[in-house]
């Protein structure tokens, strides 16, 4: 059984949309599963573009989650 802890971080407009800056999930198989759960918790996430960063690295495909990780949801950047 997967007992990992996944810290979820929200930034920018996603903090407004979810009302949170972070939350913790556990027992998550992979990043796609995390995204599905988050979409159930916060349906508006489905309409919003964002990138995923796993442990501070942008990921573009589904990654299995063994052990503890940080998964950040990054809306479009506005630096500069």
């Amino acid at each position: 059984m997967n007992t990992n802890k996944i810290s979820i971080l929200f930034f920018g407009q996603l903090t407004e949309l979810t009302g949170k800056t972070e939350l913790e999930l556990s027992g998550i198989e992979d990043t796609l599963a995390a995204q599905e759960i988050l979409k159930d918790l916060f349906p508006k996430l489905g309409q919003t573009p964002y990138l995923l960063a796993l442990d501070r690295e942008i990921i573009h495909e589904n990654i299995p989650l063994k052990g503890n990780h940080t998964l950040a949801l990054l809306p479009p950047y506005a630096g500069g």
């Binding site: 950040a72 950047y77 506005a78 500069g80």
Partner: protein
Amino acid sequence: MTMNSHRIRNIFIQGPISAAFIAEKIAAHAVKLNIGGHSIFLGQVRADQKENQEVLCIEYTTYEEMALDVMHKIRQEIFDQYELTCLHIYHSLGTVKAGEISLFVFTSSIHRKPAIDACSEIVERIKKELPVWGKEILSDQTHVWKENK
């Protein structure tokens, strides 16, 4: 290739970047007698019209741990790619009003071309790769979220 190129530097400054701060950084290079050219980019907050209101200021936030990783990687790649003597980057966090400066990129090289080319490439990469968000506060106290194109 350069001093401190392996150390992670904090690039973030609370509030706007002042002209005095920029001057101080320029003046600090007068002792580097092999530098022939400096290139500087400054990003300034515009009072754009949005939803029939005017942008008063931008509140910048970041994912700092990731941003410093990203910036460190950009620094390394830029130093590998261009013959730079120095490279300094500062970005504001918190509130920066229209007319104030939020980004300061400063490159130096022996001959002018590496400094000019590197500066412009760093600005492009910061806009695309640095996890920073900007909440534009409008004159009616509503806000919109800025998005780089």
